[in-house]
């Protein structure tokens, strides 16, 4: 057995060494390469519109609201792994809210600012660009929670709502992150750092699956030897994972306290800008997309929406994968965008 293990070790070492050498030869990975333009911007955000040409006006529009955590480029990682490109292929006119990095002067930016002001401006700008009065929202992860709040407060501006891997009930038993941060003194953290370092959040996310993300991922690189396409994808993913922006301190504290610690949204106790956020005020059709193996936002946390939304037209779409896989896996590319587009187009 010892002899076999030795040979196996040698083979693994050789493959890994080859992968590393090839990885080092690759250039800087390009991410977010789908054609787009900035059609509107303000303090804290940019509104992007994808594609070009007059045919966009005939397509069904959708405004994607991404999370503050990490960058939205995971939705457009590379041409063959791009939810955005697939949505366009399926006939949608895609808009995206890109949150910009908070500076020192943004430490006091609140959750209300993000949802009731910045997101509202993006919705209005999208409506203007489309010559319409309402939008179709697609909220991703934390952006989905933003979209839910917005849809509850601005019912007259949202035609259809799609939530993707979106936490709704933050206190489900399997929500590990929620358990961990329940007793974190977030006010003290914000008073210390001002804006919360993105690196801190990154490290916390890795800590949720320490063996897989800290060890297995590295050794799995050996499987990618001589496969330059997959090595490129690996490099892009690593680049995206590490590129985590700081979080505006006040908004971070609001989100952590209201949602992770108090679970205010499903309790009907959330207040933004003096207005109560009630999920049963959402009357527009909802498509709730969640991942069955999501370690960040457990499916149970997402599916809670069914019990709280006030709409009659509610649909669920379960994806057999994880929180990242739902953006970038080939399986997701084939499954999710066509169904999202079909659902939307049926409700135009």
């Amino acid at each position: 057995m010892s002899h076999t293990v030795d040979k196996s070790t040698q083979a693994l070492a050789a493959r890994l060494a080859r992968s590393l050498a090839q990885l080092a030869q690759l250039g800087v990975p390009e991410i977010g390469t789908s054609q787009h333009e900035t059609i509107f911007s303000g303090r804290g955000f940019r509104l992007l519109r994808y594609g070009s040409g007059s045919e966009r006006a005939q397509a069904c529009p959708v405004l994607i609201v991404y999370a503050l955590v990490n960058r939205p480029w995971v939705l457009d990682l590379e041409p063959q792994r791009s939810i955005i490109a697939r949505l366009m292929d399926a006939g949608l006119d895609v808009f995206l809210v890109e949150w910009t990095d908070p500076g020192q002067d943004d430490q006091g930016t609140t959750l209300t600012d993000y949802i009731c002001d910045m997101l509202d401006q993006c919705v209005d700008a999208t409506c203007t660009a489309r010559h319409e009065t309402t939008v179709n929202l697609l909220g991703v992860c934390q952006g989905g929670t933003f979209s839910l709040c917005y849809s509850a407060l601005f019912t007259h501006k949202v035609r259809n709502l799609i939530t993707m891997v979106t936490p709704v009930d933050f206190h489900t038993e399997d929500n590990l992150l929620s358990h961990w941060v329940r007793d974190v003194d977030v006010e003290q953290m914000v008073s210390c750092y001002g804006n919360v370092p993105g690196a801190f959040l990154n490290a916390l996310f890795v800590a949720l699956q320490p063996f897989r993300l800290g060890g297995k991922k590295a050794l799995d690189l050996a499987d990618l030897a001589d496969d330059y396409d997959r090595l490129q994808t690996f490099a892009r993913m690593e680049h995206w994972i590490a590129d985590s922006p700081d979080q505006a301190g006040r908004a971070f504290a609001d989100f952590l306290t209201m949602l992770f610690q108090r679970n205010s949204l499903v309790k009907g106790q959330m207040v933004l800008g003096g207005r109560a956020v009630r999920l049963d005020d959402i009357r527009c059709p909802i498509l709730n997309v969640y991942a069955l193996a999501d370690h960040l936002v457990p499916a149970t946390a997402s599916r809670a929406l069914a019990q709280h939304a006030g709409c009659t037209d509610y649909t669920e779409l379960a994806f057999d994968g994880g929180h990242i896989g739902i953006y970038v896996s080939r399986h997701a590319q084939q499954q999710i965008p066509p169904k999202v587009a079909a659902w939307l187009q049926a409700r135009q």
């Binding site: 030795d6 006091g108 019912t155 060890g215 527009c284 006030g310 649909t315 057999d320």
Partner: protein, 277 residues
Amino acid sequence: MNPIPPTNWAQALAQLQSQFAATLSHAERTAGTRPLANLSDWLQTFNEPTDPTTTTAQAPGLAFMANPWPSSVSPVTVGTGRWGVAATRYQEALAALHKAWLKIGIEAWSRLHGALTTNETMDNLRASYDLWIYYGEQVFAEQAHGQHYAGLVSELINAQVVLHLECGIGNQPSSDDPQQLRQELAEARSREASLRSDLKTLRESHGDDSTSSLGPAKKVRVRPTSSRKKLTKKRSTKQADRTDAQKTAPANTQGARKKTVKKKPRDAKPRLGDSRR
């Protein structure tokens, strides 16, 4: 780039992981990538269990707690009087989490050992390593979901923040933050909320459905059964090909366990006729 493979597989993994992390952190195209949690340190924990402070904080998942000091600051540059209590608290929090990690590691190792012992054909290095990951995550999940472990993590975070605060590390709150403007904005929003409430009351007093005048939500809320059927029929016609394709697609493709698109029946929303408003 061509390591001489050691005979011990654990050492081999440690060496490979270390080499990988070093290469990755220096590779130009991954600039900005944080160093990976270091498996070699984790494995070393078992080799040198008597020296916990130098190893456990760098175990997978704890790398972010390995060094509470930003690169430009070290404990020797700040006076002990300012940070002594905070430093002690941090050390205690770290030691407590280290203890929990040792427990997880030992249990995972024990399960792995049992599996390898009972499976004599297990002479594949990669399969052994995957088993180690499997049992590691298994034991970790059992422990990490408990209140005790959550308390350890949050205490370590809180302790580190206090330590930084005591030492004046971190971004100072901006002095030119437009607090007055924000206050006025908050007040304006509050007035808007009040006006919206008044408007709603007025509409209700006149027998008007306030929501129904606001757009598409009206159609969903008040749509009679007949129109719902009509919508369904229309959708079926428009999307016939796609729907048929979905229905006939194999349920298990490319590793899929389950693929469901569930349309919630109207009756499944008991609160629809029981609005809280």
